[in-house]
Subunit: 212 residues, 2 copies
């Protein structure tokens, strides 16, 4: 059976994915910038992956792309805009040839036509509920797994609904103190998961949550 | 300068020290028992320590006793009673020769005379604020460090007040989902700490928080 997987989700030691007051010019909230300690392992791992190196961090990083046939993400992961699209010139953060090379489903209340990019990536904009989007994503994945790309709100929504099979979590050695937690207020959605891997590199700790 | 230290505090991967509804017959709350996955590393480490073994877990475990001259704890860590003492026959969980061998200060609203045990342990019952208890504990420690023994409420109280120099945290590979968090709602108390160690054994992940 194909799975629903989440990979490379980094939280602080105290459980936060982002600080408070996330906004356009501070997408990770107060006090947390891209390239800061929270994500520095990810940047290094992506460079190591590009260079063909191996190691704890890069091996986990690379697993996130293996056997994935479709991706689901929240609108904030597609772009910084909020509310209705002023125009449709924005084509995502990734340039003309996004690194997905498959169908990507973007949860948004503000629909727009699908967007076919170079390299096989097509963005679909949908306001359907998770279960329906997941059905479309599995169809598109054609037997491969579906990845929930993020951000936090979308991962939490799928966790709460009990729809995620594997969640690779990365604990970075810093404290954020306040902000948005990943594993909080998930109701019964969190029951039935166990931690099947817990491994530290010199930089971070990797944990894999799977359904029992 | 002598330090204020906390050791061997175990939390679940989602940050909980205990489940909901902690009470007399379920001191770790619903769904969490002593000897369960949350504390099994601790029981093994204490056995390994007694057997003179070494290893990641037992080495961290043993550090918690090194150079400690006094201990501070909450009343619930001293005994299961709540409210006024019905009598003073309870002498702690540890039998006639408790494993402290130094002065132990017990935060409680319900005072009782100090309790001198075999082996050099004396329990002092105090309703003074943390700063005052800490002064007494440093006096008693005579140049050694002071340990905050627990439970969660006392550790959080001292963290919020910015009084802790080192906090050794242990992340156990399980999810509790709801209950009492250690690192939550600490206000500015959490600022100024950094994570100086992050190491996984096959059982758990150890993190050391120190003041920057």
């Amino acid at each position: 059976m194909p799975k629903v997987r989440v990979h490379n989700v980094t939280i602080s030691l105290d459980g936060f994915m982002a600080g408070p007051n996330q906004r356009l010019d501070a997408p990770f909230g107060d006090g947390v910038g891209w390239g800061d300690d929270l994500h520095s392992w990810f940047i290094s791992a992506s460079q190591d992956a590009a260079a063909g190196k191996s190691g704890i961090d890069v091996d986990y990083f690379v697993r996130g792309d293996q056997n994935i046939g479709a991706t689901i993400m929240g609108r904030n992961m597609f772009g910084p805009q909020r509310g209705p699209w002023e125009d449709e010139s924005w084509q995502g953060w990734w340039g003309e040839n996004p690194p997905y090379h498959h169908d990507v489903f973007v949860h948004t209340h503000h629909l727009r036509p699908e967007l076919e990019m170079a390299g096989g990536t097509t963005f679909h904009f949908t306001d359907e509920p998770p279960e329906a989007v997941l059905r479309r994503a599995f169809d598109a994945a054609d037997g491969k797994d579906v990845r929930i790309g993020g951000g936090a709100a979308v991962i939490r929504q799928y966790l709460r609904a009990g729809l995620i099979d594997e969640l690779h979590l990365v604990i970075a050695p810093l404290l954020i103190g306040r902000g948005e937690r990943l594993l909080d207020d998930l109701g019964d959605g969190i029951d039935g998961y166990r931690v099947s891997e817990l491994v530290s590199s010199p930089n971070v700790t990797h944990a894999l949550l799977v359904r029992s």
